[in-house]
Amino acid sequence: MNFDLTEDQQLLVKTVQKFCKTESPVERVRKMRDVERGWTPETWAKIGELGWLMVAFPEDAGGLGGSMVDAGLILEQLGKSLVPEPYIASVALGGMAIAKAGSPEQIEQFLAPMLAGETSLALAYSESGARFNPHCIATKAEKTADGYSITGDKTFVLNGHAADRLVVAARTSGEVGDEKGIGLFIVDPAASGVTVQRVTCMDSQNVANIRFEGAKVSGGQVLGEPDGAGPLLDYLVDCGAAATCAEGAGAMQAALAMTREYLVEREQFGTKIGTFQALQHRCVDMFVETELAKGTALMAMIKLDDPDPNERRRAVSAAKWQLAKGGGYVGRQATQLHGGIGVTDEHDIGLYFKRLHILGTLFGDEEYHVRRYMNLPGFVSNVA
């Protein structure tokens, strides 16, 4: 057991920190929310140049041979200043889908440009009424002469409004809820039969509702087995969930630090408000939740590639739960301890409050992960 960072990792973290400080401090969120895209291709390209989009991928997919643990280290730092570029959508979701199931040609054509920061990706899987269950897919992919025709509606597709390519989960057979019968398809959002509606979000990191009306995909756009992608989709959504945990741990640290600073500086009733014991203990509770979230985010990342998918689910659900509960607590208390200015739009703490809600919700909220966790086989296996 060893959680020390390697020298390379330490360097990576430092580089990301420095980048965030100069290129994308939290104030940048304010500018980005007036931009339709919510982020800039220039910054994305810089991130690509620094190689950060490659860390999680194996070398034969054009990556650096690291793992999602390294991506987690980056995300934690990005989370500290709420960098809006589509890292989770492109790396943990769309990119990982192509890396795991793509042919060499597909990797070359669709993954490589993303790794270089030239394009961004998205995974269109979520549907209305699915309530976070990745297998609740009604969108149909019907066989055509030379490929498939996709029809259905996807909601809240992360980076769906800006992605150059969409990885679309659609059903080739079976019923809504079945793990079997799901395929992944690479779709150009500009193709005919695809309508992208941008949806603005609370944290200004926008998403899209996407309608497919007989959108055509060729054989070369089918990712892996057209009816066997259910387990991979489940894995991808867990990648996304683990990524929110890493980013959330960063956001929690920043919100805690900002609150601590405020308590140390703000004076009322003739004294620093940080001397008030009730506020001190509240701040300690925030610290506890933050430390725990750092650990569980790491655990989720490490367990993502566990040979037993239930071990992965167990770790990811526990981490997501900690993020939802602990991140919610930290966001609420950070606001409360800031007092009045905490609820003004001009103060940054509100941006963390908003982002923490969203991270806690994406890829399964508290209730979803409690239920998933309690129904894993391991939950009762040693009871008898």
Partner: protein, 393 residues
């Protein structure tokens, strides 16, 4: 021992409910039906409807235009208004400066200001908070120096709600800097059109322009616009806080919020099943509703006590504390029920259902409920000291 309403009170509730249904303008009604948030124009539109009926100032004495209701009728009226989803009226004229003028103001002030408050012809805002005072309100820095029959006002106020639309502002300002901080404060009524007054709206985290920062730069205020005695402003401001304590729990608002949670749960499905039938969510809603029921009962106790003319008992002190907690938890749960829809923020209609449209904004802004009007930490300090008698040193 009786927790029922009298037949007359029940009939009154019915009358109020029916009147609201029939009197609310169609566009307001449509918004209320989906629990929309109202802007200032809509609030004033509703103010005038109520004013015409004579119901705009339930707690004003009849001589000033109130309907002459007792505490229970006022409570019933307030609850019905809240339950209807109607716009909440601005409290600054009706609930704050109005009663203050009645109690401490001059005859000139009463005649000049009260009728226009009632009619909704003049909108008021509040100049209490300052950027560096916060919970320590009495440490305010805005100054008023006498100059003949005027005072010259200088300073900055914040959290001046809807000051951008306000005609008048009531201001706490320091008239004597040489005494203990509470002792040197006076209470002024200031025309927003005076030279030197600037109000600049700022957004809350809910993205609503409800508040302003307001600056006073050598603003000349006629001395007759000082309420009561000079240097007694703190006493007056505190007296104001004691008014209508039975309404601060906002149980009507939270009752409506829980109904809203249920309605959203009913229109939200998981694999074809409504979330209202989901045991996990349903239990979360039930727990919150039971929590509200316990507050409702505390509120009834405070109300019955007020109705009988007793001083507020210890149960009254918890109303604001628990009431704001519950308001926040309502929006926490509402967002949770909405699931991914809770991410959406000010989109055009149709992206998420109309009933869910305003939730995220309020979810953010309702954080303020435990901060303003004496933060919950301050409330706890007060209860610890005044009710539990815990030592301060």
């Amino acid at each position: 021992m009786d927790m029922s309403f009298t037949p007359e009170q029940i009939a009154f509730r019915q009358e109020v409910r029916e009147w609201i249904q029939s009197a609310m303008p169609k566009d307001l009604r449509a918004k209320a039906d989906v629990d929309g948030n109202f802007d200032n124009a809509e609030v004033m539109q509703w103010h005038k409807v109520l004013a015409k009926k004579g119901w705009v100032a339930p707690h004003w004495p009849e001589q000033f235009g109130g309907p002459g209701w007792d505490a229970t009728k006022r409570f019933i009226f307030s609850e019905e208004i809240e339950l209807s989803g109607a716009p909440a009226l601005s409290p600054f004229g009706l609930a704050m400066v109005g009663p203050l003028i009645m109690q401490f103001g001059s005859d000139w002030q009463k005649e000049r200001f009260l009728p226009k408050i009632l009619a909704g012809e003049e909108v008021w805002c509040q100049g209490y908070s300052e950027p560096n005072a916060g919970s320590d309100l009495a440490s305010l820095a805005t100054s008023a120096t006498q100059d003949g029959d005027h005072y010259i006002l200088n300073g900055q106020k914040t959290w001046t709600t809807y000051a951008q639309y306000a005609d008048w502002i009531f201001v706490l300002a320091r008239t004597n800097p040489d005494v203990k901080k509470q002792a040197g404060i006076s209470f002024f009524l200031v025309d927003m059109k005076s030279d030197g007054v600037t109000a600049k709206p700022f957004l809350t985290t809910g993205n609503t322009p409800a508040f302003c920062e307001t600056w006073f730069e050598n603003v000349r205020v006629p001395a007759k616009q000082l309420v009561g005695e000079p240097n007694m402003g703190w006493t007056y401001a505190k007296a104001l806080l004691g008014h209508e304590r039975t309404l601060v729990a906002a149980v009507g608002i939270s009752t409506r919020a829980i109904l809203r949670i249920k309605r959203i749960a009913a229109e939200t499905s998981e694999a074809g099943r409504s979330l209202l039938d989901h045991p996990g969510f349903r239990a979360k809603i039930a727990r919150l509703e039971m929590k509200l029921e316990s507050l409702r009962m505390a509120n009834y106790r405070a109300l019955a006590s007020a109705q009988l003319g007793h001083a507020p008992g210890p149960e009254a002190s918890i109303l604001k504390l628990r009431g704001t907690e519950i308001q926040q938890e309502c929006f926490d749960l509402m967002m949770e029920v909405m699931g991914e829809n809770s991410l959406a923020w000010f989109n055009e209609p149709g992206v998420i259902p109309p009933r869910q449209q305003w939730v995220a904004s309020t979810f953010n802004y309702v954080r303020a409920a435990s901060i303003y009007a004496g933060s919950n930490e301050i409330q706890k300090n007060i209860i610890a000291k005044l009710i539990l008698g815990l030592p301060t040193k």
